[in-house]
Subunit: 381 residues, 2 copies
Amino acid sequence: MTTVDGLPAGLQGVVVADTRVGDVRGEEGFYHYRQYSAVELAERRTFEDVWHLLLEGELPGAADRAAFADRARPLRTLPPAVLRELPAIAAAGERASPLDALRTAVSLLAADLGLRPTLDAGPDELRGDALRVTAAVPTLIAALWRLRSGREPVAPHPALATAANYLYMLHGEEPDPAHARAVEQYLITTVDHGFNSSTFTARVIASTGADLGAAVVGAMGALSGPLHGGAPSRALDMLDAIGTPDRAAAWVRTAVERGDRIMGFGHRVYRTEDPRSRLLRGIAQELGGERVAFATEVERTVLDVLAEHKPGRGLSTNVEFYAGVVMDACGIPRELFTPTFTASRVVGWCAHVLEQASANRLIRPAARYVGPPPPQPVPAA
Amino acid sequence: MTTVDGLPAGLQGVVVADTRVGDVRGEEGFYHYRQYSAVELAERRTFEDVWHLLLEGELPGAADRAAFADRARPLRTLPPAVLRELPAIAAAGERASPLDALRTAVSLLAADLGLRPTLDAGPDELRGDALRVTAAVPTLIAALWRLRSGREPVAPHPALATAANYLYMLHGEEPDPAHARAVEQYLITTVDHGFNSSTFTARVIASTGADLGAAVVGAMGALSGPLHGGAPSRALDMLDAIGTPDRAAAWVRTAVERGDRIMGFGHRVYRTEDPRSRLLRGIAQELGGERVAFATEVERTVLDVLAEHKPGRGLSTNVEFYAGVVMDACGIPRELFTPTFTASRVVGWCAHVLEQASANRLIRPAARYVGPPPPQPVPAA
């Protein structure tokens, strides 16, 4: 299926920009941020180091690291005008997803911060905007979640790094360091991943010269789509539906034969195992526990059944399966899986917004009109 | 300037989708909604008829018209949970633009309405969502504006059509019918205009299966960019800067010689006069008054100076110049020019979201990585 210009539908594989942020090599099962393997960064670095890499273009040295932390940590505290409105935003989202509430809160925050158009702001100002918005996102997620369940928000902990502080703000107590590190590694693996739909959305919006907040809010909307960011909790729902290890084979077989899509398996880009999945599996297994063992068993069953029923498709476990397992094992509630993904991806969106602004050109494609030929006379009312 | 795939930068002119919503024929100075000339629709129909055309695919008959009004009018009244939050949203935007506040409010509204993903909702449900969001936008704009200036919002007037009701909600009194009709015609002319950046943004977000609210909020972000929707008030600012007719020639000449862009002139697509400009000039002249006469004189001067200094470029008046003049003459405050544009363009965005959802394919292009080659070993922290 192609468009009239012979482009693949959905622009799949069509190069629309140059980037220095990173890339995905689907055939090799490899992806990178700047010139570094994302998996290696997750193994060897902190979230803050990777954030610095994306925002400033390079990994920090010791002095930069301390200065970056000093700048970023105070920005986790929400402006009072935003904090005051969170109960109402949380309540209005009663029937909506936490991601919708987060979108509203980020939009309010961006307005409160008075971000200027990317067209007018220089690179330093834009980096400052990116830092402010990114630093506040975990606080917003945690506060909205607690308010929704009738509890007061927990203020950021000044001594904890991003991932540990996120868990702290969710539960009000300092987390198990193993949990904090596992969540940190998850966050690092999802900072950026090629030119996906939300990243592209952020760049299209930034290309109009709009402020960074507008771009992030739009990207969050794209991420809320089930075809993009919406599936990690569904993989866990599957584990629930299966219930016990002995039921796995029959459940999966029935689902595959019925033609259901099995959540957490297969990827549009990777033709090998998803490198994020491999890393997160290892992290999950280090965390251990009955639930992780069950997930591993279900994974094996699904892969067996898929290999049997769809031979040659090479369907592998994708990031969603073990992302859900890891977050669950670390005490992140299921409804926050996608918002948590947002907390890291916003780093990548901001890097792309900065890059777009640095050499901007309005992104404005065309469509082919295929309706009845105009002009037909407008009939009298 | 082209991308690596030989595509024009910014995808200009690259056909990425088929549409039945409408099109722009820049060479002919013609644009249409469905199979009808947009200008002819503005001359002969109401805003509600055109809204029906975009949403339902056809102009309404008498019975459809009444039924459509019956459905749409109650939806102008805001849900109490949204109305309650507007003072805070208006205040948080103190340093931001009214469009940022509107973006937050629409995001809150969409969450409050509990819109389902376009992926799951059928066409009838999506049309209902579109109606609800679109109907509420003028109410939100007017309420936020009044709150910002310390006044209570005015509830929608059940007997007035969209444009008249908008003016009524702004000023608290029934408007001059000539003003209501002029604003209505302005709104009709700006419902849709090809595959511009905000429309494309809405379609990219909808392509992920996200809900209609997410798509509209993202599109509003794109529209807030100065390169897209941000200029109508600047054309009026120019009139202020010029001050009096006798200063027009010298002011314009100086600006052009300095290389300034003259707001309200030139268009990326039209190589002839912008057909919206022609219509709006006529509307402005019917409204009459000293200010319109001044604007007409400045326009003539600008065109003369541009023809002299940039011969062969065929720079004409675009929609922004007389859009500003008409809105100003009808009592719409300058800071609401772009939000008012949003109130009509949301009709077009929704039509595009519905069309995208009806034959969806995830929009996910690619980028070319041009940074240092990976993988380079991650240095020790």
